[in-house]
């Protein structure tokens, strides 16, 4: 109790130290970012939620249609559920295959393989490319008639349709996206591994832990902050995957993703802005789900410390 009053008193004291001008200056400085945040981030997000209950072609009047868009989306729109599945698969693939592989490479390089600098730069190279560029490269490699892979396989009479066959193309795209993602993750983990105190490992070794135990029980837990960053990056990369599938086949025929459906409906002559917004709101909900889970876990983790 006394502590509390003391704090309150302290606050009153500091408040008095600000003149009116200070408050004005602070108000402007805080106000501008808040305003920008509202205008640039929250405004469009809330506008999307609002528009998702309407029908609008971008030119004429906006009609209120209630939940029709959502109903049509779930029941009639054949691309919707595949897109949801593909998005989840994308997250799973990056999270369960590409990210662990990046960690694996980081550990290998950190242990000092020969030519490790060389591997490091080679593996990091794709990170500087835009995903759209990776998509164009994938087309050069995997094209049906003129692609490098089919030319090497020499199967002109029965070409594998790497990009057109809807049972393969998504996997090819996830591989191509992983090519870049792995390097990214590797660099982050390399930085993390360099900062792990070698004394910890020595202590573990003295306690009789083998290398595996040392890694999973000692090294990995000390990498916790890096793990969180990598986790967030993985989810974000997966959810914003768009450029690569759009570059390859406009995100159609097996490469549907929620982001593509939004673009397809809103951009272009179609201009089904209400319907597209409904998909956007769904994607927003999915993203918020991941972000909130992360934040809750983070806050809980921080409190436990």
């Amino acid at each position: 109790m006394p502590q509390k009053t003391a704090r309150r008193a302290g606050r009153r004291a500091t408040a008095r130290r600000f003149t009116r001008r200070d408050i004005a200056v602070l108000g402007v400085l805080l106000g501008i970012p808040v305003l920008l945040d509202i205008v640039i981030v929250w405004g469009p997000a809330l506008a999307s939620v609002g528009l998702s209950f309407t029908s609008w072609d971008g030119i004429g009047d906006i009609h209120w249609v209630g939940g029709d868009n959502y109903e049509n989306l779930v029941e009639d729109y054949p691309a919707f559920w595949p897109a949801v599945r593909h998005n989840l698969l994308w997250i799973a693939f990056l999270g369960l295959v590409a990210t662990p592989f990046g960690l694996f490479l980081a550990v290998l390089i950190d242990r000092g393989v020969r030519f490790s600098r060389f591997y490091q730069s080679v593996l990091y190279m794709p990170v500087v490319l835009s995903l759209a560029v990776v998509g164009f490269m994938a087309q050069l490699l995997l094209g049906t008639d003129q692609g490098v892979v089919n030319t090497i396989l020499d199967n002109r009479n029965d070409p594998v349709d790497w990009l057109g066959d809807s049972s393969i193309n998504l996997w090819m795209m996830m591989l191509a996206a992983s090519w870049r993602h792995t390097g990214y993750v590797m660099i982050l983990y390399l930085a993390g591994l360099k900062s792990v105190d070698p004394a910890l490992k020595e202590a573990a070794a003295i306690d009789g832990a083998n290398e595996r135990q040392t890694f999973f029980r000692v090294t990995l837990p000390t990498l916790r902050p890096v793990n969180v960053i990598v986790g967030v990056i993985t989810v974000i990369e997966a959810l914003r995957a768009f450029d690569i599938v759009y570059a390859v086949n406009k995100g159609r025929n097996g490469l549907e993703l929620l982001s593509v459906l939004i673009t397809d409906n809103i951009i272009g002559e179609a201009s089904r802005i209400g319907f597209g917004s409904a998909i956007a709101v769904f994607l927003l909900a999915v993203s918020l789900g991941f972000i909130v889970t992360f934040l809750v876990q983070e806050l809980r983790g921080a409190r436990e410390k």
């Binding site: 200056v25 029709d68 179609a270």
Partner: protein, 419 residues
Amino acid sequence: MSRRNLLRGAAVGAGAVTLPALLTGCGDGPGGNKNEVTVGSNASDAVPKKAFAAAFDAYEKQSDKKVKVNTTEHNEFQQNITRYLQGSPDNVFMWFAGYRMQYFAEKGLLIEISDVWEDFKGFSPALKEQSTHEGKQYFVPYYYYPWAVFHRKSLFEKQGYEQAKNWDQFIALAKKMHKDGTPVAFCDKDGWPAMGTFDYINMRLNGYDFHKSLMAGEEAWTDQKVKKVFDLWRELMPYYQKGALGRTWEEAGQGLQQRRTGMAVFGMPHPGSQFPVDERDDIDFFAFPEIDPQFGQDAVEAPIDGFLIAKKSRNVEGAKDLLAWLGTAEAEDVYLKGDPNNVAVNDGADTAKYSPLQKKSAELVSKAKHISQFLDRDTRPDFAQTVMIKALQDFISNPKDVDGLVNSIERQKKDIFST
């Protein structure tokens, strides 16, 4: 520096950064120059771009006005058209005839040019109809290109193939080509090339009128007639080259040129622009074969491209003057000198310099009773873009489930046409 000064400095800095941006946002910019007409062009490919430049040069020479062309990559142009027309469009812009023009006229985004049309000579009533919405003209047609079954003359001679007149002959020909290792070319990675085949089978089987009302959303896609279209199409599927969904139209055109495939349902520029100049005389075509004798081959798919004026155009007078010139036969002659893959719409155009292929195209269209545009130009853009592309791609990858397919199209059609 005290903290207060720092804060003040930061506030002034923030203002300095944001204010100019806000101010320029309000400004109206310089007004239009009356002696300069700007043209929004979607002709981003090399051949048409050069040909258009020649046409505008000719206009500059015979008038005292300047033409400034702003070219945008054609897909991008199409993607942004709605926003383009509502933003600050060029004085004149390139676009398509038919429903896609009427849609913007309906929305009040175009300027009526009936007065320009009064002086036009050499346009058929069918062309005028394609340029008209509710009795008013909005569009100046410039050229068209027919869709047909294209092939290499030399390959047909060598293999003893004969052009097909009806569906049975067509299937027999496709079967033979497939057996000879030069299957029928097929591609739909871009999402639209397959639409041409759908349009033709539907028009040959059910007639132009049914096709038109199906596109207008007035017929049910679950109709037995539509299912029959897909059933017929499926007969052709085994003889197509594999991997259509991974192939662009450019690749399919090159396959035809390299004699790896026997024939393709295409529009004239598609094989035309993939053949080297000295092999262009080897391209030939035949009209899409007859299916129901009642309709014969009376309809031809021939998309028309041309020019329009946006409502927000800043120099309407100059724009109309340019359009009046573009509607003359002379203007089309200048263009077609540089682009052998299209055909003039104006009857007065000089056909003496036409290639045999252009002559044949002009003949094909002039004999037609009905001219269709193309699936994505004959129906609502939102329906074509968000429903039909996926539906046809689904059909190509799984041709068996026609019932499921047409039910899904019909449900989505109802959702879209009801808004």
